[in-house]
Symmetry: C2
Subunit: 215 residues, 2 copies
Amino acid sequence: MSDTDTRSEPQRRVRGRRRDGERSRNAILREAGRLATVEGINGLSIGRLAEAVGMSKSGLFAHFGSKEELQVETIQAARAVFTAEVIDPALAAPTALERLRRLAENFLRYVEGGLYPGGCFFSSVAAEMAMRPGPVRDGAVQVLADFSGKLETALREAQAEGAIDPSEDTEQLAFELASYLSFANAQFALTQEPGTIERARRALEDRIQEAAAAA
Amino acid sequence: MSDTDTRSEPQRRVRGRRRDGERSRNAILREAGRLATVEGINGLSIGRLAEAVGMSKSGLFAHFGSKEELQVETIQAARAVFTAEVIDPALAAPTALERLRRLAENFLRYVEGGLYPGGCFFSSVAAEMAMRPGPVRDGAVQVLADFSGKLETALREAQAEGAIDPSEDTEQLAFELASYLSFANAQFALTQEPGTIERARRALEDRIQEAAAAA
């Protein structure tokens, strides 16, 4: 259930019972996320989504009051998936260097896992909406910035733990590592070739070992 | 004038005289390219473009028979710009290492020059159309693949000239250099911060020098 759902728990349960046989809100939002990486989040209207999930437009209007509400909730649901699949399992690692490696590896698995046909949901939305200010663009950009920030935090902490050379500029290094991840995602979305993910793995590991070498 | 314009030279001239006061075909296609990186090439209809350039829809229909024709010609015009600004001046350099450096630097200048508000025209279109097969997607992907191919060719030739270490895997190295360019473009489109272009310059130069060191 999303943060912006202000209905009380009993209200939601009643509504849930009324809609037996319809897909759950979360399942609808997952499909909305997939659709957004294929056709663009700007094309994600309640009418288009109704068609894709085989529900009536009025049924979807009961879930989401407007196209923008649907888009914002789709982003929130995708963020929950990203946090659960990429961020949280990485941050559970005991050392900073291991957190760094897991952040990168989890991102690549999330991309090659095919959860979204068009690759990373947020890269897709951010590219599409780059020049269109608003909550949809900002929501996607925020998740990408948080992710880059977590790479850099892990690098700084790894430096403090003596695992990364103190002379490395962690902001620059984070840029380079994020570059491999971002490009692998873009190329994989275009080609579906696993080789592009392997190239990113190799680039990441070479660069991390280079930065660790003198530590 | 684009490759697909099958009108004879005199026909075009007559048509050109008739349309005094209207913008030229090339100026219209430049505006179409700018608009495509802001609103998406899929949203680039003749009606939308007519509004943007202040011409009548019927006037634009005389230039381009259909939305798809307009999109394909927009891509061809953008490719001519990319070839003239990024590729050709780089390939004129006498050594392969210099061709490599100029390909990268010209790309960054093309991005930061702001010719297209949404950054590299082809990265923008490829991201938007990744999951939508057809001539628009294929046209954009082809330009990006050609560019990556030219980076790799320059690297292989630099290796043959003894300027890049023979042990370097040029395909892997091309992936890494293209990553910096691609990520800088995506970040610059989102933030308009010159710092992101500088990070790419530094990443490129560090990596090229590392690859050259043992040569």
